[in-house]
Amino acid sequence: MTQDPFTDSNSSKKPQSKISPLTSFLRVTEIDTRLAGMAGALLLIWLGFHYYGLFVNGMGAFLTPRNLWNLSVQTSSIGIMATGMVLVIVTRNIDLSVGALVGVTAMMMGILQVEVLPQYLGLGHPAIWVITVIVGLIAGAIIGALHGWLIAYCRIPAFIVTLGGLLIWRGMAFISAGGKTISPVDQTFALLGGGPYGAIGAWGSWVVGLIACAGVLWMMQSGRAQRVKHDFPLRPMWAEVLLAAIGCGTIIGSVLLVNAYPLPKGIIKAMAAANNTIVPPEGIFISHGFAIPVLILISVGVLMTILLTRTRFGRYVFAIGGNPEAASLAGINTRWMTLKIFSLMGMLAGLAGAVASARLNSATNALGLLDELYVIAAAVIGGTSLAGGVGTIYGAILGALVMQSLQTGMVLIGFDTAIQQIVVGIVLVLAVYLDNLYRSKSK
C-alpha cells in the first residue's frame, strides 16, 4: 500500500482510487517532479541536437565526450552567478549588473596579476593567483554591498540601482585599462578556466566521483535516521535504493564521460617533452577528467544549497520573499539581509570573472557582456519565481546548462547568431509559461 507523505500514518485510510501509478511512484519516492522534468527536457535538447546533426549534417557532434566536456566548462561562469541570482530573485529583487561586474572584476584582476604583482613578487610567483582571486572576490563583494546598501537603506529600486551599475561598471572596466586587452594571465590563474592543463585527470576524477557518491549515501542515511528518530513516515527501502542508484549512477556516468575525452596529441607531446620522455608512435590516452571550473561550480552549488536550505540565512531569504512584512515582524533585519544578498551576488560575479578571464587567458572590457540576461534566464528557467519566495540552486544550475546547451547546440548544427537569439528568447518565455502551468497544477 502506498502512503501519502502529507498525512499521518494512522489517519486517512480512504481509498486512493484516482491516483495514477506515476503520481504514486513520484509520491513514494519523493522525487522532485520539477527536477525530473528539467532533466528530461535537457535530455530531449541533447538528443534533438545530436540527431538533427546526424540526419541533416551527416554527423552527430553533440553527444560526444569532447562536446559535453566543453559544454560543462562553458556553463561554469553563468552557473556560478545563477546560484546567487536565485537569492536575489527569491527576495523579490533583480540584479542587472552581474555581467558588468564580471567585466570590471576581471579587468581589476587582470591588471593586478599582469601589471602590478609581478613587479613585486616576480613573474609566475605562486602567490599571484591567490592574491588576485581574493582581491577579485572582495572587489565584487564590495560593489555588491554598495548596490545592496542603495537598495535597502536608500530605498532605490533594485532595477534602477543595478541598471545604473550595469552602465557604470562596464564604463569602469573600459577606463581602467584604456580599452586595452590584458593578457596573458598568470599561468596558475589560467587553470581556473579549464583547458587541457586545467583539468584533474582520470584518477582525480575518480576520487572526486567516489567522494560525491559517499556524500549522497551519507545524506540519504542521515535523512532516514532523522525520520526514524522523530517517528516521521519513511520511504520504502526499494525507493531509497532506487534513489541512491540514480544519484551515484549519474555521478559515475559523468566521471566515465570526462575520462573518455583525451588530451590532444600536441599537449601530450609538450608534456612528454617537459618530462624528458618520448611519446610512443601509437600515442597515449590521457584523460582530461573534470575541468577545474566545473569543480568550482559544483562546490559553489553545494555550498549555496547548504546556505539556502539548511541555515537561518537561507530561511530568512525565503521568508522575505514570501512575506517581507511577516519577516520583519518576526525580527528579521530585512535591510541588512538585502545588503548581504547583493554582496554575495557581487562576490560570485567576481568568481565568475576569474573563471571567465582565466578561460580566455585575458581580460577584455567586453567580458561578461549580456551575461546578466543569461544568468537571470538560467535562474528563471530553473524555476525561480519572479514573484519571489520560490527557487532552488540546483534548478538554476540546470537552467544554466539548458541555456548553454541551446547555445552550443545551435553553433554545432550551424544556426547563425540571429536564429540563436530567436530560439533562446522563445525558450525563455515558453519555460516560464510551462512553469506557471506546473505550479497551478501542483496546487
Binding site: K229, R310, R312, A319, E325, A326, A327, G331
Partner: protein, 253 residues
C-alpha cells in the same frame, strides 16, 4: 481577577502615533496586570491594531512611553519586544505563505543543531506537539501555509505566540477565522494562560466573547481612549454604548 501587586505588568502611557496627518492613536493610556485579560474594543479603524503594534515593536510611537514591571523600556523593533517576552498574534497573521507551519512557528528563532544548521526534524516534532494541543485535526505539516485554510493558518499563528513562553500576549482578533470548536479551544487556552499568570491584550469584536474572557475592557474611538471598565460591573449594552456613542457610562469605572 487577582492583583497581587500594584505595579502593572505593562503600562502604555500617553501613546500617540499618526500617519501623514491622521492621528491613528491619540494620547492613549492602557495597562495590563499579570493574570489578567484586557479587551481592546472599538469600531473599525479606531486604532486598536496600531496601538498594540507600538507594544509589539512593529511601530515606534511618536509620543508616549512603555513600562514593563514598572521599568521604562524602549521597543524599537520586533526583536526588542520578543526580548521582553512579548508575543503577538497579528490581525494579518504575519505568516510567510511559502514556508510550512514549522518554519513559520520558529521564524526568527530557528532551532539549530551542533553544526549550526537548521534542525528541521526537531522543529517539526515540536510543531506537531504544540499543534496537537491547539488543533488536534491539523495534519498539514509538510505543505506551505498558503495551502492551509484560514482557520488552520490562524492556529499556526496562535501556536507561534504560545510556544515561546510569553509573559505578555497580544491577540489581535485571534478567532476571526475559526470555527466554533476551534474558537472554544482558544477560549480555553486563554483561560489556561491567564491562570499561568500571563497578561493578555485581546482585540475582539464579539461582545459575548469579551464578556466571557476579559477582566477589563478599554474602548477606543477615532484613535482616542473612550474609557476602561471592569467587565463584571457593566452590561453588554453599556459597552456597546461606549463603542458606538464614544461616551463613558457612569458605572463600573
Amino acid at each position: 481577577m487577582k492583583r497581587t501587586t500594584n505595579t502593572p505588568l505593562v503600562e502604555m502611557r500617553d501613546i500617540s502615533i499618526s500617519f501623514g496627518g491622521i492621528k491613528a492613536v491619540d494620547h492613549v493610556t492602557v495597562n495590563l496586570f499579570a493574570g489578567e485579560v484586557v479587551g481592546l474594543l472599538g469600531h473599525n479603524g479606531a486604532g486598536k491594531s496600531t496601538l498594540i503594534k507600538c507594544l509589539s515593536g512593529a511601530y515606534r510611537p511618536d509620543h508616549g512611553q512603555v513600562f514593563i514591571d514598572g521599568q521604562k523600556v524602549t521597543i524599537n523593533n520586533p526583536r526588542d519586544a520578543r526580548a521582553q517576552n512579548i508575543e503577538t498574534i497579528y490581525q494579518t497573521l504575519a505568516l510567510a505563505d511559502n514556508l510550512n507551519a514549522a518554519a513559520n512557528l520558529f521564524l526568527g528563532r530557528e532551532l539549530i543543531n551542533s553544526a549550526g544548521l537548521l534542525d528541521e526534524a526537531q522543529m517539526e516534532a515540536e510543531t506537531r506537539k504544540i499543534m496537537a494541543r491547539l488543533n488536534p485535526n491539523f495534519r498539514k505539516f509538510n505543505v506551505p501555509v498558503s495551502a492551509l485554510s484560514g482557520g488552520q493558518r490562524q492556529s499556526v499563528a496562535i501556536a507561534r505566540a504560545v510556544y515561546f513562553n510569553a509573559k505578555i500576549l497580544i491577540m489581535d482578533e485571534p478567532t476571526a477565522a475559526l470555527g466554533p470548536q476551534e474558537t472554544q479551544m482558544v477560549a480555553e487556552l486563554i483561560e489556561e494562560l491567564k491562570k499561568q499568570g500571563l497578561g493578555i491584550f485581546l482585540i475582539e469584536h464579539d461582545i459575548h466573547n469579551v464578556m466571557k474572557l476579559c477582566d477589563r475592557a478599554s474602548v477606543m474611538k477615532n484613535g482616542q481612549l473612550v474609557g476602561t471598565v471592569d467587565v463584571d460591573k457593566v452590561t453588554d449594552d453599556e459597552i456597546l454604548g461606549m463603542i458606538i456613542m464614544g461616551k463613558q457610562s457612569n458605572q463600573g469605572v
